[in-house]
């Protein structure tokens, strides 16, 4: 006799191959939920926010456990790779410090030992810490279904809070992150009330590529988290910097513009006004820091 019970009325399956997983999804996709780390899914089931009839544990699917890098193809992160594994992967700490930084602040050590970057983006919380960094790095989601694979630019991935452009019969297999170009650098900063174990009130990632001689900005990416229904790039703000030499004044303008482009809401964590202010501050700080990493002197 035991008093335990399932957290929900669902069937649990743990397929060992991508093919089987996709076959199951093509039949039952609409009622199924993918379980990778479970750090978002399990509380959602427990609290009755969702009640899937099938929970599909993808941790045994080999393709979803890949983690590799080479110069040409870039980084491939299987959708079921736990964040803690990713953080100890040398190529990431060496070449994708912005991503390492973003992933290192998600949840706690316990959460990072289970949670995955795939789950972080599929859960599509506006505050997902990995999203702004991935947007800056030009990441693509590799999505598979019975009918084949497709690539989704991360810019087109997030639809609404909790909603992505992945279809019910599709599975996120991996995330591809191109190798950052030479002379590029960036960072992610967020604001939380507590130091750790908190959800971003606002997060900003900036990523700059410079022309090595002129030190002018060749490419600029700035992405925001927790200040709109989805993580988003602020193209207007980015445009202000492209082709320019960095000055203190221009950074201020960019920060202001980023704050303009944000669409924050007021909730129990903060007011929209404060979030907008944070976007300004964090944009400014990430830009300064990125310039510092690139060894650019900012003209006053």
């Amino acid at each position: 006799m035991t008093s335990t019970r399932s957290i929900g009325k669902f069937e649990y399956k743990k397929p060992g191959s991508l093919r089987t997983t996709l076959r199951i999804l093509s039949n039952k996709g609409a009622d199924a939920r993918i379980l990778a780390g479970g750090t978002d899914l399990i509380p959602q089931i427990k609290q009755g926010q969702i009640s899937p009839s099938l929970v599909l544990d993808v941790k045994n699917v080999p393709e979803l456990n890949r983690l590799d890098w080479n110069e040409d193809r870039g980084l491939r992160i299987g959708a079921a790779v736990p964040l803690s594994k990713l953080l100890t992967f040398v190529a990431i700490s060496e070449r994708y410090s912005i991503l390492a930084q973003a992933c290192s602040v998600i949840g706690s050590m316990q959460i990072r030992n289970r949670g995955t970057i795939g789950g972080n983006i599929c859960n599509a919380a506006p505050s997902a810490d990995s999203a702004p960094a991935l947007l800056c790095l030009g990441a693509r989601a590799i999505v598979a279904s019975k009918n084949g694979n497709r690539k989704i630019n991360l810019d087109d991935f997030f639809m609404a809070p909790g909603k992505t452009s992945i279809g019910a019969d599709e599975l996120l297999v991996e995330i591809e992150v191109p190798t950052p170009p030479a002379h590029s650098a960036g960072c992610y900063m967020r604001h939380t009330t507590r130091e750790e174990m908190d959800i971003a009130v606002a997060g900003v990632a900036s990523f700059l590529t410079i022309a090595p001689r002129s030190k002018k900005l060749k490419e600029v990416r700035i992405a925001l988290g927790a200040v709109a229904p989805t993580p988003l790039r602020v193209h207007g703000a980015e445009a202000l910097l492209i082709g320019k030499s960095v000055t203190e004044r221009i950074i201020e303008e960019v920060a202001e513009e980023a704050a303009e482009e944000a669409k924050p809401i007021s909730d129990i964590r903060a007011s929209a006004e404060y979030r907008r202010e944070l976007v300004k501050v964090l944009t400014r700080r990430t830009l300064w820091k990125s310039c510092e990493m690139l060894g650019i002197e900012i003209q006053r």
Binding site: T193, D198, I199
Partner: protein
């Protein structure tokens, strides 16, 4: 402290081994055969009339063994539920707060119990909730209870003109001539301060297991700060004589005042009685935050007048505490003893109110009412010392009360180390040097706690192997078992390992007041000390003829009874223990001791905190923290340090990040992600200075310890933020957003 051999030592807790191995038993760990599972059905509305309550469908569900509503509660038939303090209030005609229990189910599985809760049909007619204390106090606001009058619980109204009111309690204190006092002042500052309800945040949610035996006696395992008060309360709820209820002590996973409240045990017991089977109930964290009685929010207005030289001439204060939906846990009753007691103020006026609103009812939390009041008082003291250009510690030293002074409540102050702790902190800060760096600030504040004292009993058995067993009836929420064992070891001259402490159940242990008000070790030690003396007298009588020396010349050390005149003449306690049982023995050696009516030994703690504020985001980093506290005598310095460090961390949470967020009376932040408590990364190491100004009333000079270090934290942090930014925050929590708003406003002006 050379005069003691065990008292005063840093001795590890005797319960630590069971806790590091996971073998300690807490309420939720208790399992009985054939056990049922109970679940509460709660109101979704903050204020509503119950038009219909139908449990038929729930009752008829397969596996449901009982469904209980208010009409099944025997205790409600005998007296107004308003008088059943700290009990679950199953709604009768109406609900007065969101999450108020409406019915309870027992079923053969948790799943069935939850399903049955969903089948309970309740029709509510929503009423406009009263959510703000100031609104609630207005005479035109409809009273939440048509039969509740101010101070009704203390004394029913005799005055025919009395009108029902949402003011549950009101007290006033007047001393001297307030107006004259303010006329003498060169500087008068008045401010209003606000705090939100906050939760104790104990990690262990409520749980209870109950069973009723064939004779009708009910046994309950639940975490409670007082097994005897719990027995009394539950017996009243069940309509049983107290001795028909037995409370079994279990480990308590954090309490801080919040676990005198019994949200589950009475319901669980009633279900066990109805079904004849054991029942277990557990609360989720969400339920704990919605119905686990927080500490009240408050609105405090303080006015203080001082001379140019920095002497206080007059002070007035109005305290309003938000009682939530029930009037039972008055906070104003603590105001008299804890307001302005540490300062010499000739002219005083205090008004205090407990005011009802349609929010979760409150209970006591670590020095109830006093962190809120000291947030206001000590912020105000800081503002005055700034205005006068005086050092904040010197300003306080200069105005400190001394032994023999009369407190606002009319009490004569015993010796308390006000000056000693303030001077100790001043010295510490001198050595530390001034704070360097941009956007940094230091804040100091003082916290006073009057304390409480209860009635306690203790038995001591001297065993045949020379060890000693102490039987007490108070559950351990602060390390009390270890400190008390140190006293026993000290008194008998035996090592710690030779002492065992039994916290008995309510059938076997001597009566004990609950572990509240920082009274436990302070009061209980008297009973234990007396029990030890009683047993030692018996040992002396046994040893005297054997050693051939007068009983009065025998002392105890190294496990022996020893002749003071010649230490060669001695006899082991084990031999005496055995001989007492022989044919010609006097019978077992049992010492007993009791205590009641002890005057409290108030305590003071002085805080200093250094912070750094990010001026662009408003985020505060606590760089360092120090507390000097008068502890009387530290029986176990390690244990007291832990109490201080824990209290300060709770205070930092209260100051910077914790607070209930309501929407139409419903708590919105019901997880530990949105009810944020400090993690290890939010606090620094916390320096402690244990100042030992012995009390005249405590054994060895003991004082109250556990609550005082919470009191000064809120203002200390506020004062440090002011130093760092120039911004004075008068509302808690001082979130980054609030701080940034202050900084921006300041920039504009």
């Amino acid at each position: 402290m050379a005069k003691y051999s065990v008292v005063g030592k840093r001795i590890p807790r005797i319960d630590a081994l069971s806790k590091v191995t996971g073998t300690a038993i807490y309420s939720g760990d208790v399992t009985l055969p054939d056990m049922l599972y109970g679940k509460v059905c709660r109101s979704p509305h903050a204020h509503a009339i119950i038009r219909r309550l139908d449990v038929t469908k729930a009752r008829s569900l397969e596996g449901v063994m009982a469904v209980i509503t208010a009409s099944d509660v025997p205790g409600y038939k005998n007296r107004s539920p308003l008088l059943l303090v700290e009990m679950p209030h199953l709604a009768q005609e109406k609900v007065v707060y969101a999450a108020q229990p409406v019915a309870v189910v027992a079923a053969t599985s948790i799943e069935i119990a939850e399903k049955a809760v969903g089948l309970i049909e309740v029709e509510y007619e929503e009423l406009p909730p009263v959510l703000d204390v100031l609104e609630s106090m207005k005479p035109e606001t409809p009273p939440i209870y048509p039969d509740l009058y101010t101070n009704f619980i203390a004394r029913p109204p005799t005055d025919k003109d009395s009108k029902p009111s949402n003011i549950a309690y009101h007290i006033s204190v007047n001393r001297g001539d307030l107006e004259a006092g303010f006329r003498e002042a060169d500087l008068i500052i008045e401010n209003t301060f606000r705090t939100q309800p906050i939760h104790h945040g104990y990690l262990e949610p409520f749980a209870a297991v109950a069973k009723a035996d064939v004779n009708g006696k009910v046994t309950i395992w639940t975490q409670t700060q007082g097994v005897f008060t719990a027995r009394q309360m539950i017996a009243e709820f069940l309509g049983l004589p107290p001795t028909q209820v037995k409370l079994v002590p279990v480990e308590i996973g954090g309490a801080f005042g919040g676990k005198s409240y019994l949200p589950l045990a009475p319901l669980c017991a009633l279900l066990a009685m109805k079904t004849g089977r054991p029942v277990r109930m557990e609360m989720s964290r969400d339920e704990v935050l919605r119905d686990g009685r927080p500490a009240p929010g408050s609105v405090t207005t303080i006015k203080i007048g001082v001379t140019k030289k920095g002497y206080i001439t007059a002070a007035s204060a109005t305290f309003i505490y938000d009682a939530g939906g029930f009037p039972e846990m008055s906070h104003t009753m603590f105001v008299r003893g804890n307001t302005f007691s540490q300062y010499k103020i000739p002219n005083i006026k205090i008004e205090a109110f407990d005011v009802l609103t349609n929010t979760v009812p409150v209970t006591y939390y670590r020095a109830p009412s006093t962190p809120q009041s000291h947030f206001a008082i000590e912020s105000q003291m800081d503002l005055i010392s700034r205005a006068l250009g005086m050092d904040p510690l010197q300003f306080r030293i200069q105005n400190s009360t001394a032994e023999g002074d009369t407190t606002p409540s009319g009490e004569i102050l015993p010796k308390v180390g006000f000056k000693e702790t303030l001077e100790r902190m001043a010295e510490y800060l001198r050595q530390k040097g001034s704070l360097q760096g941009e956007n940094r600030g230091r804040g100091v504040a003082c916290g006073f706690w009057h304390g409480a004292a209860g009635s306690f009993g203790a038995y001591v058995n001297v065993n045949i192997d020379g060890t000693v067993t102490l039987v007490i009836g108070v559950t351990d929420v602060s390390g009390s078992r270890t400190s008390i064992a140190q006293i026993v070891a000290e008194e008998f001259g035996i090592p710690m390992e030779a002492v065992s402490i039994v916290v008995g159940d309510t059938d076997t242990a001597p009566w004990s007041s609950p572990s509240v008000g920082s009274q436990t070790i302070y009061s209980l030690s008297h009973a234990v000390y007396r029990a030890c003396q009683d047993a030692k007298d018996q040992l002396r009588r046994l040893a005297s003829p054997r050693l051939g020396v007068p009983a009065s010349e025998i002392e105890f050390a190294n496990g022996q009874a020893i002749f003071k005149g010649d230490t060669q003449k001695s006899i082991p306690l084990a031999a005496l223990g055995r001989s007492s049982l022989g044919f010609r023995g006097e019978g077992p050696i049992v010492g007993r001791g009791s205590i009641a009516g002890l005057p409290p030994a108030p305590s003071v703690a002085v805080h200093a905190v250094d912070v750094e504020v990010d001026k662009e985001t408003g985020k505060v980093k606590v760089l360092s923290y120090a507390v000097a506290q008068d502890v009387g005598l530290a029986i176990n310095p390690m244990s007291i340090e832990g109490q201080i460090q824990g209290a300060v961390t709770q205070g930092i949470g209260w100051a910077l990040m914790e607070g209930y967020v309501f929407d139409r009376g419903k708590v919105q932040n019901t997880t530990f992600l949105d009810y944020r408590m400090p993690t290890a990364t939010d606090v620094p190491m916390i320096d402690t200075m244990l100042v030992e100004v012995g009390s005249t009333t405590g054994i060895y000079g003991l004082r109250h310890v556990g609550e005082p270090p919470m009191v000064g934290t809120l203002a200390a942090v506020a004062n440090a933020i002011h130093s760092a930014t120039g911004v004075r925050l008068k509302t808690l929590p001082m979130t980054p957003e609030a701080i940034l708003k202050g900084i921006k406003k300041q920039g504009k002006s």
